[in-house]
Symmetry: C2
Subunit: 351 residues, 2 copies
């Protein structure tokens, strides 16, 4: 071991879902949208020219924040853009969770919350979901340094009713409550309407799922203007330019095509509802997902075995080898054809 290695930060690297290069694979493992981005994105790509790229991009990504604000009926000063919602969430942790008191989030949830907390030396306490994988709102009434949870939750897909979300926000007026709505567009009820009433609410969204733009890394936070100003101050203190010109251009085009967005998310919701019926017939059980994935367990076949069998068939789903969820698979909702291929295989395999 060389001397400089003594001072290297110790970490456990994240293992992202596989991105197989084989085109024939059915990819139901990373919660991507099975439909392409809006045709308006193709148009915007065609209109882009290389010349402006020589200059730094607008550090505020003004055109993009305006388009996002318009979509939500908010002011641009209420929008904070970032390089995917991971970037936005990490920045929010860094900005708001400095009390020294533990922040609270569910025990089964997005796997980066504890990572960012450790990165920024923020103490945290996990609050267990109940047996139906639901967030127990009473668990978030104790003294804390902030609250964060996805709604619908990941990887369970379970939605916390808006009244319960509001109760958590209302009983935590002295800290920031982050509602991570990465999957809200697939049938959940957003907390965005609560922004008028609560200045301690931050809603985080992404273009990666419902906008079919995972490849462009665009996320954003919505909040009170003062909350967003705090985020911008911290962000600009150490990295001025993060959103590149292409993300701004193509993001605007995606944000503005409301009709395509509606059409795509409806198709995915319809496919998911059919998937619930098919998978139930095949002996699976699952909580009632409002996301673009189902979190399923089978009556007899262990999840780990099924994961391997599906993979051998070229159908990629996600398996988490973690306490409480190690007999579950997370299956992203694909196209109808992809889902039919999944059911066909399962019918044969589980017979």
């Amino acid at each position: 071991m060389r001397a400089w290695e003594n001072n290297v930060r110790k970490v456990v690297p994240y293992v992202p879902g596989e991105q197989p290069k084989d085109r024939k694979v059915i990819k139901l493992n990373t919660n991507e949208n099975p439909y392409p981005p809006s045709p308006a994105v193709t148009e915007a790509l065609r209109r882009m020219t290389a010349e402006p790229l020589r200059k730094y991009p607008d550090p505020t990504a003004g055109r993009l924040t305006e388009a996002i604000a318009a979509e939500h009926g908010l002011r641009p000063e209420q929008v904070f853009p970032g390089v995917g919602s991971d970037d936005v969430l990490a920045m929010a942790f860094l900005t708001f969770f400095n009390s020294g008191k533990p922040i609270l989030f569910p025990d089964i949830t997005y796997s980066f919350y504890d990572v960012w907390a450790e990165l920024f030396a923020i103490p945290y306490e996990r609050q267990p979901l109940n047996g139906r994988f639901e967030i127990v709102k009473e668990d978030y009434r104790k003294e804390n340094g902030g609250v964060v949870f996805p709604n619908p939750n990941a990887p369970t897909g379970v939605e916390l009713p808006l009244a319960d979300v509001e109760e958590i926000i209302r009983s935590n007026r002295d800290v920031i409550v982050i509602v991570d709505e990465a999957y809200i567009d697939f049938g959940g009820t957003s907390a965005v309407g609560l922004l008028e009433k609560y200045d301690n609410l931050l809603v985080v969204r992404t273009f990666s799922k419902s906008r079919s733009m995972a490849g462009m890394r665009i996320g954003y936070a919505l909040g009170n203007e003062d909350v967003i100003r705090c985020l911008n101050n911290v962000k600009f203190s150490f990295n001025s330019y993060t959103m590149n010109e292409a993300a701004i251009c193509l993001g605007v085009a995606a944000a503005e095509d409301h009709a395509y967005f509606e059409e795509t998310r409806r198709k995915i919701i319809a496919t998911r509802e059919r998937a619930k019926q098919e998978l139930a017939k095949l002996g699976f059980s699952f909580a009632d997902s409002k996301a673009n994935f189902l979190f399923v367990t089978h009556r007899t076949c262990p999840a780990r075995e099924l994961f391997a069998a599906l993979r051998a068939e070229g159908i990629y789903v996600r398996y988490f080898d973690k306490p409480r969820i190690d007999n579950y698979l997370r299956i992203t909702i694909g196209t109808d054809a992809e889902m039919e291929a999944l059911y066909d295989f399962l019918r044969r395999y589980l017979r």
Copy 2:
């Protein structure tokens, strides 16, 4: 003041160089390249399609690291890509500067080094440049937790000779030495050749200056494979996907067009050398810049006054109101026509 505001991180926001919307402005204030990106970037933009954007990008940005490695005669495992060199540098601070001992950098240098050190609670000590704005290599022999400096330095443009760079690396084998070569392509001698000899060296580069790609946010670090592995481990522990698909595609095109790169940087070097003659005639003095900017002070006219006069004329340069450099202007090298407009105005104004 609301309760949640007590826990907001306290920061001093960075103020980036102005990006005026008026097209007629002569922009010599942010060290951008006055020439457009390579025609290969236009080609790559034309070939891009929207469909693949629905998927997450390759988290390793493999095509880009391969193209960069080929350009430098290195292996892809020696390249760490990031969202501009700011992202790469911040990640290197976080990864390597954990000894608790102060890291060392010049007193007059890139303004983000102390910001990242404070962000990550890394102690630091500034080492004063000498009267000719040169780094004094002996200052970097004391015990420390790491070393970082730009070469050529910013905003002075002064190059540290490679033998002195090597001496700093050699006398600090127990820590990582970061040589920030944002401006190296404009006539400096790179430390990349030293990577074979020293496993404690990290060279950081950017596409923002010599590749005319500031708008796409592409930076990278070059190092020993073990050093790069450490950077990747830390990066992947908390943010898997940062380089978007467009940055990867267009970055590859820019990296591969060696002829255009050579042509552009030679033009800028030629314009800079003429600028030295013209500005000397006008009563300016400056260190011998090897960057795409000159850091100048005038015999009689205060920098602050000149800054305001230039701005009123629509010529934007950079002024830093900081100790030791508050009578200097940093002037980016533009096209010949832009520089002629600058000389014309100065001839009239200083008469």
